[in-house]
């Protein structure tokens, strides 16, 4: 009889070329994709050559994205991007993204069909766990691991124990994937899934569009998780089919798969969540927020810079005006999203409401550029981290939320929901 496995275990077993794996076991897996960005690639490239690497293991399986400081914010960042660009040229990498083809890696890569169901992926960026939303095993590593993987096409993993989150029921108005994941992190803490796999299931997850599923898996790392994953279904297939240029395989967890723990949330219990400074686990329901004035609102980042997110924000901002004294910054997650948002009139809605619309970049999410906070300033943001100094001065504060709440807060000048306007 074959062993019952979770989807994460199946993905690792396949890539390791074995029939079954068990939590705690070490495996060496063949990789379908290795990625890095303008911050992490430069070190990975140095290490690649230092290791004696000459050619990458497979040109089609390396993706390099200039997103953190793009368009280059200063000479130093330009040098980093140049290094990555030169490496891509020398190695003949077709999937190098910069300039007008650019986007935030975790939005761009699945949209380009580069992360597919059945894949095992590593990336020199912690939010590489995002691609679990298409049914891949995907996790973040550092630059040296990425450099070695670019040379060898493989890496080692310790098979993680599984945590399963079953969310049943119907989500309320203004509640989405962001709230499910902030709520989950609020319940289990920022190390609640340390070294573990997080699988999301249940009717509330099944009914979510891909955008929300990406948001959920994106923040698995914020609970310490190794990967986040959602078993692919018809919604996934509808998303990947037109994008894929190679074969893919949709796997699901077996009935008898073993999890270290299973958590059950009721969708009706989840209101829009706000994570207070300085940890994502400080999540509170909107009704418990109280009076929190803001100086800046940001809609964007790999969590919530998708077209669906911009539509929600535009729906709230339409016919309204951003409060005096508040900077409202909208950052489409990729060039294509920016174009589509322009075609749909969303950009005009934002500009009319007094928002600023940036070209795609990570920018303020990591306190890089395009909206850095001063001492004592406070932002509400659809980003994924609110650590000390994350968006600028160590004395500034970041509150995490979904796009509807961020947009409504921009109008009110304080944290609130669209129904409070």
């Amino acid at each position: 009889m074959s062993v019952s496995m979770s989807i994460s275990e199946k993905l690792l077993a396949r890539a390791a070329g074995v029939d079954a794996v068990r939590p705690g076991e070490f495996v060496t897996c063949k990789l379908d994709l290795v990625l890095a960005n303008d911050i992490t690639a430069p070190i990975a490239i140095d290490q690649f050559y230092e290791m004696g690497g000459r050619e990458v293991f497979d040109r089609d399986k390396i993706t390099l994205v200039a997103d953190h400081s793009t368009p280059n914010k200063d000479i130093k960042s330009a040098q980093l991007v140049k290094k990555m660009r030169d490496f891509a040229a020398v190695q003949g990498l077709p999937n190098y993204f910069e300039g007008g083809g650019c986007g935030i890696e975790h939005i761009l890569i699945p949209d380009e069909g580069l992360a597919l169901p059945g894949d095992v992926i590593i990336g020199a960026d912690s939010h590489t766990c995002t691609y679990g939303a298409v049914g891949a095993f995907s996790t973040g590593v550092g630059s040296t691991d990425a450099g070695a993987a670019m040379a060898t096409g493989e890496t080692w993993f310790r098979v993680p124990a599984g945590l399963k989150f079953v969310i049943e029921g119907s989500l309320g108005k203004w509640v989405g994937g962001k709230d499910i994941i902030l709520y989950t992190i609020g319940q289990i803490g920022v190390d609640g899934a340390l070294y573990k796999s997080m699988e999301f299931a249940g009717s509330a997850v099944r009914n979510l569009p891909m955008a929300d599923r990406f948001t959920i898996c994106n923040m698995a790392i914020e609970a310490g998780g190794k990967n986040g994953v959602i078993a692919p279904d018809a919604t996934t297939e509808e998303y990947v089919k037109p994008r894929a240029t190679r074969a893919y395989e949709m796997l699901a967890s077996d009935e008898g798969a073993d999890y270290e723990q299973v958590f059950a949330w009721k969708a009706e219990d989840i209101e829009p969540q706000i994570s207070f400074p300085h940890l994502p686990e400080n999540a509170r329901g909107l009704s418990e927020v109280g009076e929190v004035n803001i100086d800046q609102a940001v809609v964007g980042a790999c969590t919530n810079g998708r077209l669906e997110d911009l539509r929600i924000a535009a729906g709230v901002l339409s016919g309204r005006t951003v409060a005096r004294g508040v900077r409202c910054i909208i950052i489409p997650g990729s060039h294509d999203i920016h174009l589509q948002a322009t075609r749909e009139g969303l950009v005009e809605t934002f500009l009319s409401a007094g928002c600023m619309v940036s070209t795609p970049t990570c920018g303020p999410c990591l306190g890089g550029h395009m909206g850095v906070l001063a001492d004592g300033e406070r932002a509400i943001a659809t980003t994924n981290r609110n650590f000390v100094g994350r968006m600028g001065h160590p004395g500034s504060e970041v509150y995490l939320a979904n796009p509807a709440i961020a947009a409504a807060s921009a109008v009110a000048g304080k944290i609130c929901g669209p129904d409070d306007l």
């Binding site: 290490q47 690497g53 912690s126 630059s143 040296t144 040379a151 190390d191």
Partner: protein, 165 residues
């Protein structure tokens, strides 16, 4: 055997605290070291002496994948990090670049700021020369042991690539 003073921090020290993103526009270890721990301990760089040891609570190194974090710590002269446990990407990164890290929750809890510590990595012993405590930790197994043996992932991969080609 390494010896140094303990610099102590709490739980969930994130990589933005270890090296803020505003300093990531360089890959130079010495430049990174100048800003190590800046946002949670502005004086760290002034206080730290070669060989000193960072002691912290749980989930040390959580957050971003930036390898700049263990690089900054190592370049600042820190000889090893003792914590209750580590975030997983930081854990891999530290071994990959040859920064010794030790999971010892009891030692992490009991060591006090400024204590003089002696760490015998080969034999798995931490001694608190000031407080008198002594704790053991076991040798690592699996791929991490291979990494330590080889002296980091660069060496390990170099020998792999050499053997292959």
């Amino acid at each position: 055997m390494t010896r140094g003073k303990a610099h102590k921090y709490g739980d969930h020290v994130d990589t933005d605290a270890i090296i803020p993103a505003r300093y990531l526009m360089t890959t130079d270890p010495d430049e990174l070291a100048e800003h190590c721990m800046e946002d949670i301990d502005i004086d760290f760089v002034k206080k730290v002496q070669p060989g000193d040891i960072i002691v912290a609570g749980k989930n040390f190194g959580c957050g971003s994948s930036r390898e700049h974090a263990p690089i900054a710590i190592k370049a600042a002269g820190v000889s090893c990090v003792i914590a209750a446990n580590f975030a997983r990407i930081f854990y891999r990164n530290a071994f990959n670049i040859g920064l010794p890290i030790i999971e010892q929750p009891q030692a992490a809890a009991e060591i006090k700021v400024g204590d003089e510590l002696e760490v015998d990595i080969d034999n798995g012993i931490i001694r608190d020369l000031t407080g008198g405590g002594e704790w053991t930790f076991s040798a690592l197994k699996g791929p991490v042991a291979d990494l330590i043996e080889a002296g980091g992932l660069v060496n390990l991969t170099r020998s792999k690539l050499g053997a292959d080609g």
